[in-house]
Symmetry: C2
Subunit: 877 residues, 2 copies
């Protein structure tokens, strides 16, 4: 006969698939001799068998359950349903993966009209016994009998009213006894049956309820979203109740084995004497610090300290432990790896390596890479945050916390900043013209746009807090206000943004600046030893570049030349170039831009030393450099001293229905080769100067964007080589350089073999690739992607995490074809995914050479790359 | 020793790779005993060897050439360079594929200061001899010596001035003698050398010039565009000159073996007595009809008729023959398959099958499918067209010819049409709101948009002439005029459009209506017997559907439900639906649309009988149904009796940066399931009515657009099944139906195995797939695609012809994965490519089951599918 029930002492942590997470954990603690209250687990297979048998508990299972219950009775000396010293049990679900939405816990099961008296005797507390009973009926009524909660609550309120008291604890023992009667009546009325007095029946009903909760709608949705197979089933844990409220030698508490806030190696926690767990939670009495337990109950304290040591050693991680002391006896109810701040996580990991408890490899796996954001950006004061009122939520576009006054134009933000105010820029969406305002702000909020919108990308580059695509925010720029449903915010009002969660709050919330501890450097160095992927950065300015190097960047994977075009001194020349009517006019304007671009590149080369630098030639459509509103066009026409009509015509000619799919990237070079010609000249001249005047051997990597057809690349390549040769001839010296391409067009992926013949490197532009693979505009998808995620059609926003199934498949095809045609081709990624841990792991598995991300994501990428290498067992050491 | 020179009698038409097209043809005619002037061919391999040897003619080759020259002398009795009866030759290039851009012809080679006198004697025409000599120097100077043409022309003009004559023929023999001296001086001045008097040197120089012309820039570009390999090389043909101007028993002419205009089996052509070919071309004398030759020279005529018979039988096609009669002797200078109208092509093909000359299979290969357009649409009167003045060119978006008055708004077109005018709608671009104006127009001209823009797609559906994306057309709607450079056109001005070429003309040009001959039906039936692909149509109305069935459509591959939404009576309800603020309001509006849609489908089912009908659920973004200009929004708000503000907010909310990548297709169903629910209900109810009331077993194919992720399809599928089941339950009867999806998103292609598990059919939406695979917006790409084609980066507009390398690769992946998951999956295409012959061939090779195209393209598709089957030797019969 198949075994469906396991005593805690029969299991171990390896039996998680059979016993569920909680069951395996309780078994493990039992196994290593810790004082865990006795109990047993009904297995996940029992759950599956239950469904196979048409949702009924079969006789053999029932027998097995009661056999195990009996053994608890034997060991504990208590009897289930007894009128003197009754055994009470808790019943808890326990799936393999922790699953919200399933039934959680029923406490005090085993109480009925008889045993409640036994409990009163045993605890010497009549009121407690009846309070436990009414709580049990309430819990059982809710989760097992499916009676609406408010029915019980309503009865309770009526009772308090009639007794003219306010708090539950002001009800007397007799009151509670009445309440129990009321609750039983409610049960009868709602279910047509008496509240079950047969404690064995109670137990079976509770177990069945856990099985059923596996298939309730919330649990099903959760499984769908998280790809948890339907066939796993849930286990059920039945455990003897212990009581911390059996007098002055009893108590209950929670403790961490180390300080979860800074990682210091001291016990950290609190306890209450003569109390139950829920009293700690209820917050009616003030708990004491754990060290005070030493004085009160030195033996129990000593036992607890020992248990803490054993558990930490056993689980080799900081533990979060729940305990109860019943009449001087310590019981451990739960242990789990404790949650901690990133600061603590790193300190604990480094300390544990030094203590010899874990290996460096394990240490590296202990910190979620994404968590490092906490260390690099401001955070809200936790206490203030608790009181804050949330307005609405957008996308967590760029990490950090910001609090400031609302302004609706970049100019106003700049002014506010100049007068010492902290300003938050609120826009429908940002555009390159807004850069100055973005720099001057403490944070950015946009109503539209996704995780890779302009605002998001630029803010991440700056390490500035940004919440994007907050659809409920309706902006009225003209009257300088925004509305969220009926709430109105005016210019100058304070709001606060949480860039890690996307939350937007009313008013000011104090923020704390980040601090990097000494262990951070140590920890990151260890990570570097494990990773195979190189980490580069997306940086366009010497300032960003310096920041990225401080964070450990090993090169630039994407230097966007267009951002350089927006500077005050340059944009007029860029516009002259665009408005040119003849090639000569255009070349004239470009001739003015040449020395500026050359200087940019030279400065970046100087900061980077001889680290590799990938420079992307002009990518955005030209209309991005021109204003679109009639008023602005008029103003510009005046400045440029051309007719409004003439400028308007240019603006109209450049207008596109779908600019993402329009005249941009290398397509510009096909029509205006002279633009790329100037850029290449600037790059090569800068490299020559770096070599001749600074002695730097720079090997620039010139990257052609938006190639979909090899002939585009051939065309630009010819132009690059010709231009470079001309520079070499003029300067009488030459430098090495590489020519490569972005892979961001689906067609480029499926023709990568042909393209690789002309390209020395590929850099995956996964923003555009995701747009085109899905047919989602990153600027517009915000309007429906939320619904997609809510309805479990998408698990994750594919602009945040690489979609391995589709986009990833295209990348895989490109890598395979590319390597076939050019085995030593250099492969990287410079889309925003290059800073997202799950995507980095995918890049590692794909065999890319590097990932490139915004400067503030470099540490995250270093750690994620190390973890990917460890996970795939592809470690260098 | 390798043989590099072949006498005409040594070759045959199979030796084209070695002898080139022209050489092989001359050899073939020689072989079958036709009177071809003697000659020889220097092979393509000689050309390649010439380049390998550093571009020099080597001794052995020269010897071989002169040996063959000698054999002409022997046979003809003439001597090269002789002072009495000189042999003159023509030298012509002749590549494997006819290639414009290469050197064409040098005539009269062999003339020098001595032999010119010999020619004078032989022809008894001193003037003719010197005229020939000066022409020879001119031709040789131009193409061999690279002297600019105008230098000679200038000298000629000066001479005519000094002689005070206007025409060349007014120059005397002495004048021409002087001119020859002038020409020789020019040659000396320009080249520093005397004009070569050594006739053998002349010949070698001419041959070398032909070799060199293989590598001139124009020829290289042509090869690149047409994928002609560089290594093929060109042959050179050297042929004895014969003269039609040796008196009244000489003459020259051109004739077709059948009437090229209607196909009638009679000789058709003209001739001139005592003349050379160029005189016919020059048009100075009026040629006579070929039948008159019978009277003038019955023997020569009889010979010619025989030759025509032999050539037609031999080439098994209507021939276009050049002949010369020299002193009563007939010579054939060239024969080639004659160009003909489509009408003639079909008649000739059918006749030749009846005559037993060709097989049906050959007949099917004789007509270019695209040519059928000529039969289905109006065409311009050829004579009027010759005189017409072209304004500019756009894309040939929809076939046909149209002449009418210019109007700039659909309303004005409707008015003009009502008052009996022929109106041409001129717009920046059209949108669904313009439909009525499009219907009322005789043709449509847009300044923007590509081959698959709204205007193009809708016009093709209507079989209406359309020129799209004419970038030079600058429209000023406000003042009702458009400009092309400096030419201004006002409302009411006449213009004419050629939808086959994209040309736009000033003024009115008479058009002819198409006529389908009886042979058309016969021919198309034959085609049907060869094809494997089924041909469906893209049709949204009973009218279009009927038209398509007349043209032979076997089903509907794409019924776009949205076009039904634009009708006068419906658009207000659709707008109500969009502006709804609650689900209830939206459902109310949908409830009103339901009976209308049901009626649409029912009518279509009735027209289609039991042919398959694929209905696509709503695809376009909702903002397409709303106005965008403030003024129109205000007007609509008034009509709808809602506030301007409220409507404006909806319009703003729906606004997208890149609508092509926005909230449309099945994405609408995720957010507003009730829209698809209504559509499905309408489809299923219509099918039930068709069954119950009309006895039709309709199996509707419900198609979900824009699926990129299988869960989208799963979501919609669940909704479809639920809705259908509800209808079945209510009606008490059920019908069969299929659920499938468009494959138009790159991600769908690479995950087609997953998607196929849920889809019973795939229909490739190659318009969108091309957009996303390339990252080209079809509405915007017009601005740079022309440049792409000019610069040979694209061979063809991929929106016109499926790009097999990239888009095709994605399709191939989808077909392979789809079939793997569901071997019997139904595969089709409903993008615009479904009516383009080259793309249809690709679909055949891919193994699709059907192609679907606009009604007027159905005959083209039938023929193209037949040719594809024949070409791939995958014939069913």
């Amino acid at each position: 006969m198949e075994k469906f029930v396991y005593d805690f002492k029969e299991g171990s942590k390896e039996m998680k698939p059979l016993l569920g997470g909680k069951g395996a954990n309780l078994a493990e603690m039992t196994k290593i001799g810790l004082p865990v209250p006795h109990g047993f687990t009904v297995t996940t297979e029992a759950c599956n068998a239950y469904y196979k048998k048409g949702s009924t508990l079969w006789e053999e299972l029932k027998e097995e359950i009661f056999k195990h219950l009996q053994s608890i009775e034997t060991v504990s000396g208590k009897v289930f349903g007894d009128v003197n010293n009754p055994l009470l049990v808790s019943v808890r679900s326990g799936a393999v993966f922790s699953m919200p939405g399933m039934m959680d816990t029923i406490l005090n099961l085993g109480l009925n009209d008889q045993s409640v008296e036994g409990l009163a005797k045993a605890t010497n507390n009549h009121r407690f016994a009846y309070d436990s009973y009414r709580r049990f009926i309430q819990m059982f009524g809710d989760v097992v009998l499916q009676i609406k909660k408010y029915k019980f609550e309503h009865a309770m309120e009526k009772l308090k009213e009639s007794r003219n008291v306010e708090l539950d604890i002001d009800l007397t023992s007799e009151d509670l006894k009445h309440l129990v009667e009321d609750f039983k009546k409610i049960t009868l009325k709602e279910t047509g049956e008496e509240f079950p007095q047969d404690v064995r029946q109670q137990l079976l009903m509770a177990i069945e309820a856990v099985f059923k909760s596996w298939n309730n709608p919330r649990a099903k949705v959760y499984r769908k979203i998280n790809d948890i197979p339907e066939h796993l089933g849930t286990a059920v844990n039945v455990q003897m109740m212990v009581f911390g409220n059996m007098g002055e030698t009893s108590g209950t508490g929670v403790a961490f084995t180390r300080n979860p806030s800074n990682g210091e190696k001291v016990l950290f926690g609190e306890f209450l004497m003569n109390a139950q767990g829920e009293d700690v939670v209820a917050g009616i009495r003030t708990p004491k610090e754990i060290k005070d337990l030493q004085e009160r109950m030195p033996n129990a304290y000593q036992s607890f300290v020992e248990v803490c040591g054993i558990l930490e050693d056993h689980y080799r991680d900081m533990q979060d432990i729940e305990f109860t002391i019943e009449k001087g006896n310590l019981f451990i109810l739960q242990t789990r790896n404790g949650k901690r701040t990133t600061h603590a996580a790193i300190n604990i990991a480094v300390d544990m390596v030094h203590e010899g408890l874990i290996s460096k490899k394990e240490a590296i796996m202990r910190v979620e890479p994404q968590q490092l954001d906490q260390l690099l950006h401001p955070t809200f004061d936790e206490r203030e945050l608790e009181k804050a009122e949330i307005i609405t939520k957008g996308l967590p576009a760029s990490a950090g916390a910001a609090s400031g006054r609302v302004y609706f134009s970049p100019e106003d933000v700049v002014k506010a900043n100049a007068s010492g105010e902290k300003a938050i820029l609120v826009r429908h969406e940002t555009s390159p013209e807004d850069i100055e305002g973005m720099v001057a702000s403490v944070g950015i909020l946009t109503a539209r746009g996704g995780m890779t919108s302009h605002a998001a990308v630029v803010a991440r580059g700056m390490g500035k807090c940004c919440v994007a695509g907050a659809g409920e925010v309706k902006i009225h720029e003209a009257i300088k206000q925004f509305k969220v449903r009926d709430q109105v915010f005016h210019e100058g009002d304070y709001i606060s943004l949480n860039g890690n969660t996307g939350e937007i709050f009313t008013g000011e919330i104090k923020t704390q600046n980040p601090q990097l501890s000494g262990n951070f450097e140590v920890y990151m160095k260890w990570a570097d030893d494990f990773r195979r992927l190189k980490i580069r950065t997306n940086a366009d300015t010497p300032r960003d570049t310096r920041q990225a190097i401080e964070f450990g960047a090993e090169g630039i994977g994407l230097c966007r030349t267009e951002h350089m075009f927006f500077e005050d001194t340059r944009i007029p020349v860029v516009r002259q170039m665009i408005v040119s009517r003849t090639i000569e006019q255009r070349k004239n304007a470009l001739q003015q831009l040449l020395p500026m671009q050359r200087q940019d590149f030279l400065e970046i080369f100087e900061v980077m030393g001889e680290r590799p630098v990938t420079i992307r030639l002009l990518d955005p459509p030209l209309h991005e450099f021109l204003p679109h509103e009639d008023e602005d066009v008029k103003a510009l026409a005046q400045t440029m001293e051309i007719s409004y009509q003439q400028l308007k015509e240019v603006v109209n000619d450049l207008k596109e229905f779908n600019p993402m799919l329009g005249h941009r990237g290398c397509r510009l070079a096909i029509t205006y080769p002279e633009i790329y010609q100037m850029q290449v000249q600037a790059i090569i001249e800068a490299a020559v100067i770096a070599k001749v005047e600074r002695g730097l051997e720079v090997i620039p990597e010139i990257m052609v964007p938006l190639v979909g057809e090899v002939k585009e690349l051939e065309f630009v390549k010819e132009l690059i080589i010709k231009t470079a040769d001309e520079v070499f001839e003029e300067k009488g010296t030459s430098v090495q350089y590489l020519i490569g391409t972005m892979i961001e067009i689906p067609r480029a992926c499926v023709t990568a073999d042909i393209i690789a013949k002309e390209a020395e490197f590929f850099s995956f532009g996964t923003n555009d690739l995701t747009q085109m693979a899905y047919g989602f505009s990153r600027d517009d998808a915000g309007s429906f992607i939320k619904e997609y995620i809510d309805k479990a059609i998408l698990e994750k926003d594919p602009f945040q995490r690489i979609d391995r199934t589709g986009v990833g498949k295209l990348m895989e095809i490109a890598v395979e074809l590319g390597k076939k045609a050019r085995p030593n081709i250099k492969l990287g990624i410079c889309g925003e995914h290059g800073g997202e841990p799950n995507s980095i792991e995918f890049c590692h598995l794909l065999g890319l050479d590097y990932v490139s991300c915004s400067p503030f994501r470099v540490p995250i990428a270093r750690l994620a790359a190390a973890q990917a290498a460890i996970n795939s067992k592809d470690q260098l050491k």
